[in-house]
Symmetry: C2
Subunit: 447 residues, 2 copies
């Protein structure tokens, strides 16, 4: 405590972590004692390699993900009260999406046809859309052949297929901490284990911590990360870190599963390339969708499977056969010209303005000591409440006043983020939003 100037609870937590890693051992009523490093490593390796059911032991530090119940309860709870203001959904106001243009595209396509759905399209995706995605990829700093792209039912299906291709039940997946709760759900639903890697609000997943985990904690099958505008932190990894991540994982034969859903929100292609741009051997599986950027009602995502392309294609075909053609055509039309880029430019300008107003209001109204991210892009802020304030209780009390937030507890399999919350600034900032933020600030104090 003296050396590092930390509180008693931090010191105890540190000892617990070191115990999990096998570096210290707890002797009841006596304290923590250092163990030999060789012994520590072999213990961790041994535990990791055995099955939890076999040993009857809890597997540390990679855990079976058990957060789903908490996520489900939270999501279901959030639907029970009548809502006045929803700050929980990672989504922009409907008016900010080009819904009218998409409707016009669909009308045009329909008028040119005499019939609909009377034959099955290609299972890998409509060619025109794959070509449009290939061109879009150039703006993200990648050169991708359209044949290397598989169109999926959104980014969730892409992530699920990618994980199924590289790992099987019981395998360990490294994830960001905090991470998007959807990734925790997919990992849990596939019977995988997760190891949480510290992730910084500015620079994203810690490559150093990941390297440490790889070196000291036995086999990790894959890393799932959002290097460009992380959810919930909004962090953007510096290029040097992305290159290092790609190299590290290639060296250790660990698949990188990259979720680039928010990549299109980065205003300039400079310093915004995905990790995939540094991929030399097909070791990075790139997943993305238009769900956040173009339209929340769409289910058009895609992935670039690298060396797992064939396997993922087989898994995708086994699970859901072909995809419907219509929305693929509508999107292909929108992406073919400059409409998508113009839309994103306009959307990003609006979001920048909303972010400034939103963050200022939080700093103005929330209790002193509240920390809030100022992300470079996207539509989410991450807030840490000061002192002992608890965001799960805030979630409950806010719901009673018709305000929905995302409590930090659903972004991790641990209890590290119970004092955090995620808010969306996707709604235009107005008196209604400001009064909701004021109410949250008041409730946080009262909680």
């Amino acid at each position: 405590m003296t050396l590092h100037r930390v509180s008693i609870s931090t010191a105890v937590e540190a000892c617990r972590v070191l115990e999990k890693l096998g570096y210290v051992e707890a002797k009841p009523r006596v304290g923590y004692f250092v163990r030999g490093p060789m012994q520590a490593q072999s213990r961790v390796r041994g535990v990791l390699e055995k099955d939890a059911h076999e040993t009857g032991q809890r597997i540390d530090p990679a855990d079976y993900v058990g957060v789903h119940e908490r996520i489900s309860v939270t999501l279901a709870r959030g639907l029970q009260n009548p809502l006045k203001v929803d700050l929980a959904g990672a989504v922009c106001a409907p008016a900010l999406y080009p819904g009218a243009a998409l409707r016009d595209n669909m009308l045009r396509i329909l008028r040119a046809r005499s019939s609909l759905y009377d034959s099955a399209p290609r299972p890998d995706g409509v060619r025109k859309l794959k070509e449009a995605i290939s061109r879009f990829s150039v703006s993200r700093g990648m050169h991708v052949d359209s044949d290397a792209i598989l169109v999926t039912h959104g980014c969730s299906e892409a992530l699920s297929l990618a994980l199924r291709a590289v790992a099987g039940p019981g395998d360990v997946i490294a994830i960001e901490s905090p991470t998007y709760f959807g990734i925790l759900q997919v990992i849990e639903s596939l019977g995988l284990k997760a190891i949480e890697i510290p992730t910084h609000p500015h620079t994203g997943i810690s490559v150093d911590a990941l390297e440490f985990a790889i070196t000291h904690m036995g086999s990790i099958q894959a890393v799932v990360c959002m290097p460009s505008v992380q959810n919930p932190l909004g962090s953007v990894m510096p290029d040097a870190m992305k290159a290092k991540l790609a190299e590290l994982c290639e060296k250790h034969d660990i698949a990188v599963i990259e979720d680039d859903t928010y990549g299109a929100f980065l205003p300039s292609p400079a310093n915004s390339k995905p990790v995939k741009a540094w991929d030399k051997s097909g070791n990075v599986i790139y997943c993305s969708s238009l769900n956040k950027s173009l339209s929340p009602g769409l289910r058009v995502g895609w992935l670039i499977g690298g060396k797992w392309h064939k396997k993922i294609e087989m898994l995708m075909y086994a699970v859901s056969r072909h995809r419907e053609e219509m929305s693929q055509l509508v999107v292909a039309d929108f992406m073919a010209g400059s409409a998508f880029h113009r839309h994103m430019r306009r959307l990003n300008a609006l979001l920048t303005q909303q972010r400034t107003q939103f963050v200022e209001a939080i700093l103005k109204h929330f209790p002193a000591g509240t920390e809030v991210t100022r992300p470079e892009a996207g539509l989410l802020v991450w807030i840490r409440l000061p002192g002992e304030l608890n965001a799960d209780r805030l979630f409950e009390s806010a719901l009673c006043e018709g305000i929905r937030i995302c409590p930090g507890s659903i972004f991790s399999n641990t209890n590290k983020f119970t004092d955090c919350l995620r808010l969306s600034y996707g709604m235009p900032f107005d008196a209604r939003i400001e009064s909701a933020l004021k109410a949250l600030a008041r409730l946080a104090r009262e909680t």
Copy 2:
């Protein structure tokens, strides 16, 4: 051979099966010898309970499914040659589907809207569609609350979700033999093992054989079956057998996963109810889609999850979040009135006529001794070639003449159906179809 009046190959195959079951053992160069029943049972149980990797032994009679390679190669091979006549796809001619009406539905829905996809619909499916499905279920002899229905991306996703809900890697699933190759792919992609249950062209899966397998072969997690118009056989289980199947599985706590994709092809609801209609405890997961009946280009399927509803909902949400609204609304409109029933009546009348012409042509042209099913409904016939004729070779030689068929080998994880093929009579019978059947007959003789 004398006692049962069977050929030498049948007798040898019978001995092999008995060996797999542990009832006889083979002594090299000597013959097959009967083993004691207790010993047999414990051997089978023991092997089944151990992991294949642990024992280094092949697991019998439930096998790891390894047919995917064969299916993929066959499907890919079928796309290489320019096609003149496709008899492989389980699909009707485009003109037989109400594509124009669906297009008009979509136009009408679009005109009433100013915007498209600018917000996310409910993840469990559009209410209007679920209500339409609930009403449709009555015509299938079931009373299902719309809240018990989950809308999926086609029947493949429904089957995949159902299997994931009830079983995990290494678990044993009983399937029909022959079975739809898509089910083999799903089972293989999930790391499950399959045990093939004899299935009769008239009466469907043998409940006696299933009961034998349950009693003698250790743990079976689920049965996947198509009781109403089986693919590829076209068989329809008698009501008494459906009731027995439901009861048997409930007694032994084995999930029934019922694929009712072709149920709508049964002309009258009498004797056409799905097994789900006999389900007392939520032990049957009902899966269906409109892919074959209404439109091959659609991805609208659904499932009734019974006691696994919550778990399946969670898995579905983790994998693919919500589904697009538009095609659900289009279908809901079509199913709301009498249009769907009128369409099916017309389609079934056409198919009955096509089937008669098709089967007659096969019997007229194919080699003497060829057996062909005369299914009550649907759009598929199953053909067994006489003597030593091989359908894999026929598949190859037919492709060279621009004709695509489905070889029997992809409908099983065993080699039991290499003399069989599946043909679709979904195309109107004309000179082109007749000459294709003539060509097939000639090639079968030459092969």
